[in-house]
């Protein structure tokens, strides 16, 4: 393990819950992220993969402090060794920590793409934005177009450019590649790699896990609001035998190039989580123990796994 002072962002025992109306005026808390641990070091790309609706985007919002008012965050967030509280989040987001949002509806519909890419911090010269757009294969006129005139992949690339134009130390890219062709996605990810080489850190939230395996240094696998496995990306490239958690293996096997075989069942609903291991209901190797209590995080072969049997 690296020293604490080398860690850019440390997340310890994070949980996020939403206060929702149940019946009439009674309210309930719905815990959507629980006991989450994650650390990010300067110079690395950490890919966050995993189930849709497992709280990956919420994690991004929690780090930036942009969750809606009915959300409660517990646990510890440390940025550069100091506690990341609401005031600091406000200070840092957009300058030190940048977000590439998931939905193209984050673009202001009434603002031209070029202006949005520049953001609040107008670049020194107009040169970087032009060359950046060219590298992302965006036609020159894109700068002058409104979001509704862009195709899905073009809008996505404009979103990516917003983060690349800042001097952020930490970039959180939430699904930056959908809608891009393979070549464009590789180019965009290559640019994140360049940022990492400059000592910045990138959290890459993605479903294009085959690309993530290629470009990331480490991969964290999410399931039902927590991390089930964190491992070097090389393990994911080697195949299921090198992976520690049955869910990670199932992800690998469901890739179209690896069999396209889905496992049965669905991720449990946040309001109705199993008592023990969150993956137990779908796990082919579950035992009595898994159903009764939540397995702790263990270190196995240079990775972390939340499973009694991961080896």
């Amino acid at each position: 393990m690296k020293q604490k002072d080398e860690t850019l962002l440390e997340i310890h025992d994070l949980s996020v819950s939403f206060r929702m109306y149940d019946h009439g005026l009674s309210q309930t808390d719905l815990e959507v992220i629980s006991n989450l641990h994650l650390s990010v070091h300067p110079g690395e790309i950490l890919a966050v993969a995993g189930s849709s609706g497992s709280g990956k985007s919420l994690l991004a919002s929690a780090i930036l402090g942009i969750l809606p008012p009915n959300a409660t965050v517990r646990g510890h967030l440390h940025y550069k060794g100091q506690e990341l509280n609401a005031q600091r989040q406000k200070q840092l987001r957009g300058t030190e920590i940048a977000l590439v949002p998931q939905s193209v509806s984050f673009l202001d519909p009434l603002m031209k793409a070029g202006k949005q890419a520049e953001g609040h911090h107008r670049p020194r010269t107009p040169a970087p934005i032009k060359s950046l757009f060219r590298r992302l294969e965006l036609p020159e006129e894109t700068e002058r177009l409104y979001p509704f005139q862009l195709s899905g992949g073009m809008a996505r690339r404009v979103l990516v450019s917003t983060a690349l134009l800042t001097d952020a130390r930490l970039v959180i890219a939430d699904e930056p590649t959908p809608g891009m062709s393979l070549e464009q996605a590789m180019e965009a990810l290559g640019m994140f790699r360049e940022m990492a080489r400059e000592g910045k850190a990138v959290i890459l939230i993605t479903h294009d896990i085959d690309l993530a395996f290629e470009f990331a240094d480490r991969v964290a696998v999410f399931y039902a609001g927590t991390t089930v496995e964190t491992a070097p990306a090389s393990d994911f490239r080697s195949g299921p035998d090198r992976l520690r958690h049955p869910y990670s293996k199932a992800l690998w096997n469901a890739l179209p190039q690896n069999g396209f075989q889905p496992i049965e069942g669905f991720q449990p609903y946040a309001g109705d989580l199993p008592k023990g291991c969150l993956f137990a209901p779908r796990c082919p190797y579950r035992t009595e123990k898994c159903i009764i209590s939540i397995p702790p995080v263990r270190e196995v072969r240079g990775g972390e796994v939340r499973c009694y049997y991961g080896s």
């Binding site: 849709s52 195709s151 899905g152 062709s181 393979l182 479903h207 179209p256 396209f260 889905p262």
Partner: protein, 201 residues
């Protein structure tokens, strides 16, 4: 029995270059087709033209040699790339499914849609969860042609495999044509019988 685009021309504004120029495509009923092109080449535009959301400037879209029907549920259903833009934000999800001819229990099960989600608003679900509603809605409408415009890019690979298995099963059962727009060649190889590159049309 086929859905045809006959020599269609399309651009969003006059005097701009054509996005689609003299484009012809014929999809037989029951066929499974994958459509490829780099980003910005008009894949989504072609999908919207085929489903009747846009009108070609020149040329025709024909369904069994007739123009697309103007009334009722369209037999060519488009499933969009961004589900959050394809669902009325002020409707609860129950109403979204009811609009397509009622809630089918087997669809809810097949897509893992929780009953609790039906009484929620779209912004309370994740993109992947919303997309399952969009696919369920398109399938329950008994369409003859399903156009899937990058429908699984926001889904995890397990859900992607599950949803595609349901779509392919339903398509097989009802002899529905599936036109899949995708960037993923591995996925296309699994789902399609024929592949078309858009710049070649």
């Amino acid at each position: 029995m086929a859905l045809e685009a006959k020599n269609i021309f399309f651009r969003y504004r006059n005097k701009k270059p054509w996005i689609l120029e003299d484009c012809t495509l014929r999809v037989e009923k029951g066929e499974r087709l994958a459509l490829f092109a780099p980003s910005g080449y008009g894949k989504t535009t072609l999908a919207m033209l085929l489903a009747g959301y846009l009108k070609p400037i020149k040329g025709q879209i024909l369904l069994e040699d007739k123009p697309l029907p103007q009334k009722g549920i369209c037999p060519v259903q488009l499933i969009c790339q961004h589900p959050e833009n394809a669902i009325n934000p002020r409707w609860r999800l129950r109403r979204v499914l009811e609009e397509a001819g009622g809630i089918r229990e087997d669809m809810l099960d097949a897509f893992g849609i929780e009953t609790a989600w039906l009484s929620r608003f779209p912004r309370e679900l994740s993109g992947g969860e919303l997309q399952r509603f969009c696919v369920a809605r398109a399938i329950s409408s008994d369409a003859d042609y399903l156009i899937c415009d990058e429908i699984s890019t926001m889904l995890d690979v397990i859900t992607q495999a599950q949803i595609w298995n349901v779509i392919l099963n339903e398509a097989e059962k009802h002899n529905t044509a599936v036109i899949a727009v995708t960037h993923n060649r591995h996925l296309a190889a699994k789902i399609a019988e024929r592949t078309v590159e858009l710049p070649d049309l």
